[in-house]
Structure formats: structure tokens, C-alpha cells
């Protein structure tokens, strides 16, 4: 079975804030395959902190992706679940303006 969970470090002790089951195809595409691009991916701003992490497991394969947060120049916080920006796996990249929106979008992408 292929499963995932998002762990929040914002509370003591850390807690799972969402979890679910995903298909192997989605796991392969979002976590194991390279992605192509001719542009640029997000980067956290200078004041970033790591808010939590996404863990996904398919058999013996475990993938972890950090959840970053920072405040934009407009004073609005950003929430980003993404690990790489060089084309190497994992491809997953979700940006949101609230923690709730981030979790909703993650669930949408992972459960599709």
C-alpha cells in the first residue's frame, strides 16, 4: 500500500495533520521521476522556517519533502511543500497562502 502523511512541527510533540492513500502511479510521477522545465521553481525567502514535512511510503521506498514557510514582501505568509529545483526528483511542488490551503492542495494532488 502506498500512503502519505504530513507532520507538523508547529506543536510539541509533532503531530500528523493529514494523511491518506495514494496510487503507485502518482507516487512514481510526483516522487520518483525527474521533472522537466525551462524556467524556475519556488525558493523560500531569506526568513524561511521549516514548518513540517510530507512523508510518503511505497513498500521499502520512503520519500520526505519539507514544508517551508516565509513571509512575502507583501506581508503575506507563504507555505511551500517542495524539495528540489534542479529537475531531480521529487517533482511535487505545492504553494499556498495558508496552512489549510496547502493541506487541501496536497490532498488533491496526492489522491488524484
Amino acid at each position: 500500500m502506498t500512503v502519505y502523511a504530513v507532520i507538523s512541527f508547529a506543536r510539541e510533540p509533532a503531530e500528523i495533520v493529514t494523511q491518506g492513500v495514494m496510487s503507485r502511479d502518482v507516487f512514481q510521477r510526483l516522487f520518483l521521476d525527474r521533472y522537466e522545465f525551462g524556467g524556475e521553481r519556488y525558493h523560500p525567502a531569506d526568513d524561511w522556517t521549516v514548518l513540517g514535512a510530507l512523508l510518503a511510503v511505497d513498500g521499502a521506498i520512503l520519500v520526505t519533502i519539507p514544508v517551508w514557510t516565509w513571509t512575502g514582501r507583501d506581508g503575506v505568509r507563504r507555505f511551500l511543500c517542495q524539495a528540489t529545483d534542479d529537475g531531480s526528483a521529487p517533482a511535487l511542488s505545492v504553494l499556498a497562502l495558508s496552512e489549510r490551503e496547502l493541506l487541501n492542495r496536497l490532498n488533491e494532488q496526492l489522491r488524484e
Binding site: R34, E36, G38, G39, E40, H43, P44, A45, D86
Partner: protein, 284 residues
């Protein structure tokens, strides 16, 4: 600065590429000047063979462009102007306008290199704002085009993956810049500093050979604003950048940009052999 990737250095700007040459025989000097440049036409009119690329990629002027370089020789069409880049220093001569565009600096972050034997590559550059534009704000806009050709061991065409399909090109993508020579990933309000523009491509596997060329034309455009429909999708190809398939008017109407190109070639035929592992040529 904390980023998800490192960022080294090296700088330069680019001339146009030469995708092959041929003798030009058409006598329409004015239009030819717009396509191949004044020097080439002068040589043509003198009876010399012209071996310049037929399509100008260095911004010397295109058939539909409203701004032509100040040294362009020949009559202008209605609406055309001779112009100098926005960062031109010195007094303007009568009849010469100052364009809103300039060439950003280009620093190679990750030199173009193969990531696999059969077509995979990666290449990363970083834009910069020249000192003369330190007080300006606007957007760096890049037009990206691609050519693709590949075949199998029997000479049959190999279809491109969606990302390599020329039907998905050209597209335009953009980075905002603000006073102080700051360049941002997409809109400046996001607070994410520009790290680099990456061209990456995938592997086509054993039993294939081919060639892919990615061409970027990049301009800094003072006062630019992404038009409606030029939006961030956070998906390939542009990811965090505003993206559109329709040419922004401010891009079409300004002096040409700097060139940014990559060509990768490979030959993994017959299947099970690697006659030529992926080679990558870039400019810069």
C-alpha cells in the same frame, strides 16, 4: 541566503546562433536587412555570398518589430522607430528613441551537461540587472522556442514527449526585478529571490538518436506588467513564473533580447549501444 539549490557564477552575453547557412538571392534589400542585418545585405548587394543565419536571433530587427536598432540602415515602415537600449549611456541623436528594453546579464550557474546518455541534459543560468539599470523596475521576459528531431534504429521518427514537442512553443515567462538590481522568482511580492533559469530535458532511452535545441531570447523590460493570461501555473515548463503562449505586446514591440541557447545530441543506436552519449552545447 537560504535556497533549495546552490548558486555559483560566471558571466557574459550572447550573440546569435547560426543554424546553418545558405546563399541568399532575393533582392528585397529592405526586408533582408530586417532579417539578416545591414552588413549581410551590403555584402549581398556587392555580389558576395551571404552566409548569415536566415533568421536573426540577436534582436537586430524582425519583420514585425516596432523598434529597430539605431544603426539600422534603410527606410522604416509606419510605426517603426530606431532605438537604443534602455541602458544606453549618452545623448540621443535626433530621431532615435530610448527603448524600454535592455539585455540582462547572464551568469552560468550550472554549465550545460548530460544527465543521461540518450538525450537528458541540465543547464542553469542566472539573470542580473546591469549597473545602469540599478534604479529601474520591470520584468525580465524570456521567449523560449524548441526544435526536436529523433529517430529509432530503423530510421523511423520518434515522437517527442510533451515537453519537447515544438507545438508547445514558443512560450513567454517572466521574472520581476525591482530597484537595487533585485530579481525575483515571478512576482516580487512572493519574496523569493531569483536563483536561476533552468533548461532540463529527458532521456529517450536505448535505440534512439536525435537532437534538441532550446532557444531563449531574453529582455529586461522597464515598466512591463504581465498581461492578462500570463499567470503562474506551478507546473512544467515555467513552474513558478508567469507563463503565456501569446506574445506580450511589450515584448514584440521592443528591441531584440539577448540569446540563450542549448543544443543536445545523442546516438543510442542500435539498441543496447551508446554510439554517442549526450553532448551539450550552450551559449553562454
Amino acid at each position: 541566503m537560504h535556497t533549495l539549490a546552490p548558486q555559483p557564477s560566471k558571466a557574459q552575453r550572447t550573440p546569435s546562433t547560426a543554424p546553418g547557412s545558405r546563399r541568399v538571392v532575393a533582392p528585397l534589400a529592405r526586408d533582408l536587412r530586417r532579417v539578416v542585418g545591414n552588413e549581410a545585405v551590403s555584402r549581398l548587394m556587392a555580389g558576395e555570398a551571404v552566409t548569415e543565419p536566415v533568421v536573426d536571433t540577436d534582436g537586430n530587427g524582425r519583420l514585425c518589430e516596432a523598434e529597430l536598432r539605431a544603426d539600422f540602415i534603410g527606410p522604416l515602415q509606419p510605426g517603426d522607430t530606431r532605438a537604443v537600449p534602455h541602458d544606453f549611456v549618452g545623448p540621443l541623436q535626433p530621431g532615435i528613441a530610448r527603448s524600454s528594453s535592455f539585455h540582462p546579464t547572464i551568469t552560468v550557474v550550472t554549465p550545460g551537461a548530460k544527465i543521461s546518455d540518450c538525450g537528458g541534459y541540465a543547464y542553469k543560468v542566472q539573470w542580473g540587472i546591469p549597473a545602469g539599470e540599478a534604479g529601474s523596475s520591470g520584468w525580465i521576459v524570456q521567449k523560449v522556442t524548441k526544435t526536436f528531431e529523433a529517430s529509432d534504429s530503423n530510421g523511423n521518427p520518434v515522437a517527442p514527449v510533451a515537453f519537447d514537442d515544438p507545438a508547445g512553443y514558443p512560450f513567454w515567462e517572466a521574472w520581476e526585478f525591482t530597484a537595487g538590481q533585485n530579481v525575483w522568482v515571478g512576482p516580487a511580492v512572493g519574496g523569493a529571490r531569483h536563483s536561476g533559469d533552468t533548461f532540463s530535458g529527458s532521456d529517450y532511452g536505448p535505440g534512439t538518436k536525435g537532437r534538441k535545441t532550446v532557444t531563449g531570447e531574453v529582455k529586461g523590460i522597464v515598466g512591463f506588467a504581465p498581461p492578462p493570461g500570463m499567470t503562474v501555473r506551478n507546473a512544467a515548463p515555467a513552474w513558478a513564473l508567469p507563463y503565456t503562449r501569446s506574445e506580450p505586446a511589450a515584448f514584440a514591440g521592443t528591441l531584440g533580447g539577448a540569446a540563450h541557447t542549448l543544443t543536445s545530441e545523442w546516438n543510442c543506436t542500435p539498441s543496447g549501444t551508446v554510439a554517442q552519449a549526450t553532448t551539450v552545447r550552450t551559449n553562454p
